[in-house]
């Protein structure tokens, strides 16, 4: 293998610690941004990486200039040492795929079109999710990819999504669905194959939800939890507090604005710190911190900026993984 910058070796150790990373979190916490950032970090570390989007009209392709990811994978960045491709998986397409793989391609399109999939989905709860997970498993089994990153449904739905295989088995599913459910369950319960990366903002509701999600993923799904990513942390500015003190009671228009903005940042930082502290107490997992980006748009420059912050943290996690491995 060609030389990879030395620090990245440990990042690779972390990124290779399981084949699939499922990125999950409440809506609006930046789950998609984190998925894209992990993808770029992985490609930069020399790995052949596949990003998978599950929700319709998500924005996973946007930073790379693609509005809607297609079902067939496409390159998201110029392939170099590593590679980053992206694709979409939807249950309807996965069903058609599955049926055609079993010599039943004609009925597949019909089932999807006529709403019959609703009937199947109602009789067998979770079948849509299972079809999607089955497709991910098939990619894992047949494609030559180092790392698969999945942008999972929003938090509450993520548990339902990942519970689908076990749920179907319990409900008494039989035949091909049962076989598929068993294969997916094996994949999900093997931490060398699959891990969940939870994403949250340092705010009350997302933190509460992420803690609940973490416990229910461990208890109800039995899937390994990777590091938790705290997104959107307000960065500090050196000398801000001293500057604020020096303003004293000056009431010029500019000083009022300076004072309000400085207070805003400091208050946000302290309430974020309190939430992070609560998280650390209630959910002892390795943590990755990502800063707030001062641009509303999601462009490649933002992802690059986040990747620069992410990589050293992945290296630290990789070193920790190595230290745990018995020599």
């Amino acid at each position: 293998m060609p030389a990879i910058p030395s620090g990245l070796v440990s990042a690779v150790d972390f990124l290779r610690s399981s084949r699939i990373l499922i990125v999950a979190g409440k809506g609006g916490v930046g789950k998609t941004t984190v998925g894209a950032t992990l993808g770029v970090a992985s490609a930069r570390s020399g790995l052949d990486t596949l990003l998978i989007e599950l929700e319709g009209h998500s924005t996973l392709g946007r930073p790379f200039g693609i509005d809607d990811l297609p079902y067939e994978d496409v390159d998201l960045i110029e392939p170099g040492e590593g590679r980053l491709r992206g694709r979409r998986i939807t249950p309807d397409e996965a069903l058609v795929d599955y049926l055609s793989g079993h010599g039943l391609d004609r009925i597949g399109g019909r089932l999807a079109q006529t709403g019959t999939i609703d009937v199947v989905a109602t009789a067998a709860p979770g079948i849509r999710d299972l079809l999607t997970l089955g497709k991910i498993r098939q990619i894992e089994a047949t494609e030559d990819v180092d790392l698969i990153i999945v942008d999972a449904p929003a938090a509450g739905h993520a548990v339902t999504f990942l519970r689908s295989a076990a749920g179907l088995s319990e409900a008494g599913a039989d035949g091909p669905v049962k076989e598929q459910a068993d294969l997916v369950s094996q994949m999900l319960s093997d931490d060398a194959r699959c891990q969940v990366v939870l994403v949250s903002l340092a705010e009350e509701t997302p933190i509460t939800e992420v803690i609940e999600t973490a416990y229910s993923l461990e208890d109800d799904v039995g899937i390994a939890l990777g590091p938790i990513v705290i997104n959107g942390l307000m960065p500090s500015i050196d000398g801000l507090e001293a500057g604020l003190d020096a303003l004293r009671s000056s009431r010029s228009k500019l000083n009022n604005a300076r004072r309000a903005a400085a207070n805003y940042r400091l208050t946000r930082r302290s309430s974020q710190a309190a939430e992070v502290e609560r998280l650390d107490v209630e959910l002892p997992l390795p943590r990755i911190d990502l800063p707030m980006i001062f641009r509303a748009g999601l462009d490649e420059a933002s992802i690059d900026e986040l990747t620069d912050v992410l990589l050293p943290q992945l290296e630290a996690l990789g070193r920790a993984t190595n230290d745990k491995t018995p020599s």
């Binding site: 409440k26 809506g27 609006g28 930046g30 998609t32 929700e55 009209h57 924005t59 946007r62 039943l104 009925i107 019909r110 006529t114 709403g115 019959t116 609703d118 009937v119 199947v120 989905a121 109602t122 009789a123 067998a124 709860p125 979770g126 079948i127 449904p153 929003a154 339902t160 409900a171 008494g172 599913a173 039989d174 035949g175 091909p176 669905v177 049962k178 705010e203 009350e204 509701t205 997302p206 509460t208 500015i237 801000l240 604020l244 228009k253 500019l254 604005a257 300076r258 309000a260 903005a261 400085a262 207070n263 805003y264 208050t267 946000r268 309430s271 001062f294 641009r295 509303a296 748009g297």
Partner: protein, 388 residues
């Protein structure tokens, strides 16, 4: 602050739509407070509120999703509660009520209402497939929200109903849910599944038969049997269900109902909002009001902050400049969204007809600035409600 006429004056029903994490629940509660302050008897139907908001509104915790009560379960979750606040102590006659959506209890009540006999209700309520419907048939929670919205609208205690839509993959699901549930109970596949059981000799479409065999092979007999039992028990209730769904749909389509789109000023949220607005326009139910939530505050002196020499390393100015830059990029995204919505609304004017004056409404835009600390109590909500 002088106020123009706002959505709380125009509407009898307000449907709040928005992607997850944009502050939809908080915003709907604030809209209801604004309604009460304006003298209306407002009720807000919330879905899964954050703990602090539930406490602020004095409503109980929701029942966990899979948990179901016994037959004829109580609907305490659905029952609105009157909330005291500044709207009823300054000579106004406004009222604020809050209720929490309990989809399972709502569905149970619908079944009980439409069943021909108590034993039919019992058979449906006890069916395993039925018990999973609210969590497995997509759109069911949304339909139950729409059903409750109709019930509250018909309730004389209230003259303004505000509904916070359930977190779903697509915010638009609520609008499509009545049709979706009708199609489900009416699916011809069930007719064919039930045909042998009814002893009917009616010819069943060969492709449909194939589909039934397909399902049987895919999921096994045990699960298919549950489906058959459910539809056997449901027999005869489908017409009542369909009629009710049509009534709900009519209310959602009428000009008494207004759509409020709540968005955050971030690219992912704006993309979702653009998509939702387009779907609303396609259904001839244009966005009445766009609420941009959690906009980075304007600290003042922003022209100065944006124009100053960026190499200046004074921490106070660097800080001010960062927020001014962020706000400017947020404004750019919002402008694009607002223009697209306005374009869709004016396009709708050309095919005005059934919807009366609704397609000629102008888009109202309300901006709510991000707070340094989250809204923790009723006072905070009252504060936000001032924006409407």
């Amino acid at each position: 602050m002088s106020k123009n006429e706002s959505v709380i004056d125009r509407a009898d029903v307000i449907v709040c739509l928005g992607a997850g994490g944009v502050g939809k629940t908080t915003t709907s509660a604030s809209l209801a407070i604004a309604g009460a302050m304006a003298g209306r008897r407002a009720v807000v139907l919330t879905v899964d509120p954050a703990r602090r908001l539930a406490d602020a509104l004095g409503i109980a915790e929701p029942t966990s999703d899979g948990e179901r009560r016994g037959l004829g379960g109580t609907d305490w979750g659905n029952e609105p509660r009157l909330i005291d606040g500044p709207w009823d102590n300054d000579g106004q006659d406004g009222e604020l009520w809050a209720a929490m959506l309990d989809p399972a209890a709502t569905f149970d009540a619908l079944i009980t209402e439409h069943a021909a006999t108590p034993s039919q209700a019992e058979a449906v309520l006890g069916n395993r497939l039925y018990q999973n419907l609210t969590s497995t048939l997509s759109g069911t929670n949304e339909y139950m929200a729409a059903e409750r919205l109709r019930a509250l609208h018909l309730d004389d205690r209230f003259d303004l109903v505000i509904v916070d839509t359930p977190p779903s993959q697509h915010a638009i699901d609520l609008l499509d849910s009545p049709g979706r549930l009708s199609r489900f109970v009416d699916h011809r596949l069930y007719r064919s599944i039930l045909a042998p059981k009814r002893g009917l000799m009616r010819a069943v479409n060969a492709a449909t038969q194939l589909a039934v065999r397909m399902i049987n092979r895919l999921i096994g007999t045990a699960l298919l049997d549950d489906v058959i039992d459910f539809f056997a028990a449901f027999e005869g209730m489908d017409e009542g269900f369909r009629n009710r769904a049509a009534e709900v749909d009519e209310l959602l389509a009428s000009s008494q109902t207004r759509y409020v789109l709540i968005s955050a000023a971030r690219e992912t949220a704006i993309a979702e909002s653009t998509w939702t607005a387009t779907r609303l326009a396609e259904r001839d139910r244009p966005v009445d009001t766009l609420i941009v939530n959690r906009l980075t505050p304007d600290f003042g002196a922003s022209d100065l902050a944006l124009s100053e020499d960026p190499t200046d390393d004074d921490p106070l100015d660097a800080n001010l400049r960062q927020f001014a830059t962020l706000r400017a990029s947020e404004r750019a995204l919002i402008d694009t969204l607002a223009q697209r919505i306005a374009g869709q609304t004016s396009a709708g004017q050309t095919n005005a007809g059934q919807t009366g004056d609704r397609s000629t409404i102008d888009l109202t835009i309300v901006e709510i600035e991000e707070r340094a600390e989250p809204v923790a109590d009723l006072d905070g909500l009252v504060d936000i409600s001032d924006a409407f």
